[in-house]
Amino acid sequence: MTDRHSIASLILRYLLLVWIALIFLFPLVFMVVSSLKPDLQLLRDSASVRAFLPVGDISIDNYGLAAERAPIARFVFNSLFVTATTVVLSLILCSMAAFSFVFLQWRGRGVVLAIILATFIVPFETIAIPLLLVVNNLPWIGIDGFRIGWINSYQVQIIPWIADALTIFLFVQFFKDLPKDLIEAARVDGASWFQIYRRVVMPLCGPVLATAAILKFLVMYNQYIWPLMVTQSEDYRPVMVGLQYFFQLNTAWGEVMAYLSLITVPVLAFYLVLQRAFISSIASTGIKG
């Protein structure tokens, strides 16, 4: 293989990568660029290549106006708080359950796992109302005392979402690929199952933790129907419900784009951080290698 050949192949590879990147980027560029334009210009530009170019009357006014229209910081905080809490609890409980299903022999585990996986089939939208009836009858003890019903709170947005079939399934699939002799060796050394879970298995879980965390993060951050049903005060409202603040009879498109750009930043940041962790964890553990 000559140098020239490999350089040509390298250029080709990059061209391919860039070309695909453009396909994935264009609506998002449209979103960000539009957030800088006044409404009328935004709409007129949307038919041509100008939609992607920050040309014409460019300013960050829309961001200021959007902040006046809705308490954006509050919404982002609510979403991040709900999302982060759910993700952490979910990773712990779901990985523990998956560990039990894969490594422990116990009566009923096949049935329980099958039931759990079957719940994957139930789209949330179809059980939202019954779920509302359930959470409305649950007790809660908070700082302001005992009450029945979880409506209008953080916990109603968090607790029902902690355990889910996909996350458990992700861990189960991952654990199945782990070398069994690792566990055997730890058992011989007299480690308890919980110690094996914490000390032996979890440290190997970098990639699957990152994957599960990202997927869960996306689901939670983009929650829409459920918070709509259960939050009544702005104190608890998340970002996607906040999006509705912008769809008035005459929608302020520039502000919509500004709001969308703003609420996308935290997710992107989270992914950027995790995908680094995700790559480096693989390099360091060298699973099965």
Binding site: L132, D144, L228, E234, Q244, Y245, Q248
Partner: protein, 420 residues
């Protein structure tokens, strides 16, 4: 959770100590409003609430705002959870549904409070007043004097509106001119309540209706001869490319008329201000055409009512009575371009006073406005009508589509024992 709890406790302690002892005697009343995300609207409402809170010492109003697009869902969910506020606002045609479901109780206002209010602002069901609005909305044909003059089209008046033939001829002329993408725009982009609100009156003007609330049934009303005539005409608008179809996006809806792509537009008073800015005196606000059974536009906008679960109906009624002062009717009108509910409020408003730019809408509302079918079944009927309008516009068989909608509406009536 605990963080928020702590925060809340701290805040309420601070608030209490700041307001002092007098405030503690005031009983809080919760008010839910659909206007989240509209700072102008919020300012007017908050001003009104502050006036009320300081005007008496028994009650203090606590406002919670919801985004309009999902307001109904939020209230229904809260109702399911037994969590309704003391005072709710309700979209006019939905009111009977909530009253029937037991979400609302009749108002208890002093006699004469609502005298002189536009009929569309009063929410009666089963002979009782459940809700009352501070404003109404109206729909009109927006056009430009210069365009109509250029093409020799007569400018219609309230006394002498266009009839079907003249209206159709005008559309044909405008289309033939080649100056426009479409001669007319009915706003297919605005899915949802806009369809029955804006297009139902066409059907009424043809002599049909979505359903006859007095029986109640849709059979022979929606799919009767008048309904079929209306359906054929409706489909022909799209077949002949007279109006943009179902895939119109909201952006085109907003800019199409102002940019000159649509010669005329069927639009509400709330959207007129931008056209007025662009065209000034050239803008015409024209009455609905008469399709044979009188020109008609939809009535009833957002209104206020008292929830059935409140323990303080007296306070809630007192607040609603307080809201209905001309001063506040005019304030909402000035802020949002809405039609004030009374003539006296219109007289002191910016847009609807004599010579005001939108004055004509008050006349339209008075002369042409007709309530949408007043029945709890309206909710499902409106959705079926929306689907039928969209399907017919896309080329579905008119008779079959109206039959299907009629069956679905009657099924719903039957399943609910006629909403009696």
């Amino acid at each position: 959770m605990t963080l928020n709890g702590a925060l809340k406790t701290t805040l309420s302690v601070l608030a209490l100590s700041a307001v002092g002892v007098a405030a503690q005697a005031q009983t809080p009343l919760s008010l839910w409003y659909h206007g989240a995300g509209n700072p102008v609207e919020r300012d007017v409402l908050i001003g009104l609430i502050e006036d009320f809170n300081t005007s008496q010492s028994d009650w203090v109003i606590e406002l919670a705002e919801f985004p309009q697009a999902s307001y109904n869902e939020s209230v229904v969910a809260a109702g399911l959870a037994g969590n309704l506020p003391d005072i709710v606002d309700v979209d006019g045609p939905i009111m009977p549904n909530w009253a029937w479901a037991g979400y609302l109780q009749p108002l208890d206002l002093p006699d004469g409070t609502t005298d002189g209010f536009l009929p569309g602002t009063l929410g009666y069901w089963n002979g009782e007043l459940y809700t009352v609005g501070l404003w109404d909305a109206a729909v009109a044909v927006l056009a430009r004097r210069s365009v109509l003059d250029e093409h020799g089209i007569r400018i219609p008046t309230l006394d002498e509106p266009w009839d079907l033939e003249e209206f159709d001829a005008a559309l044909t002329t405008l289309q033939a001119s080649g100056d426009f993408d479409y001669p007319f725009d009915v706003g297919m982009a605005w899915t949802g309540e806009w369809y029955p609100y804006a297009f139902g009156p066409f059907l009424q003007s043809f002599g049909g209706d979505i359903l006859d609330a007095s029986v109640p049934t849709a059979e022979g009303v929606l799919n009767g001869d008048a309904g079929l005539d209306f359906g054929d005409w409706w489909q022909s608008l799209f077949d002949r490319d007279m109006v943009p179809g179902v895939s119109q996006d909201a952006a085109d809806r907003e800019t199409g008329f102002v940019d000159g792509n649509y010669a005329m537009q069927w639009n509400g008073n709330w959207a007129v201000l931008s056209a007025l800015e662009t065209f000034g005196d050239d803008l015409l606000i024209l009455p609905a055409p008469d399709f044979g059974n009188g020109p008609t536009i939809g009535a009833a906008s957002w209104q206020f009512g008292v929830s059935s679960t409140t323990e303080h109906a007296d306070g809630a009624n007192q607040f609603i009575e307080f809201m209905l002062q001309d001063e506040y009717l005019a304030a909402f009108s000035d802020a949002l371009g809405l039609i004030p509910a009374t003539a006296s409020a219109a007289a002191i408003s910016e847009y609807y006073s004599e010579g005001g730019p939108l004055e004509v809408f008050y006349g339209l509302s008075e002369a042409q406005a007709r309530l949408r079918a007043v029945t709890p079944g309206y909710l499902v009927a409106a959705l079926e009508f929306e689907k039928a309008m969209s399907d017919i516009a896309s080329g579905a068989d008119v008779a079959d589509t109206l039959d299907a909608a009629t069956d679905a509406i009657n099924d719903d009536l039957e399943r609910n024992n006629g909403y009696q």
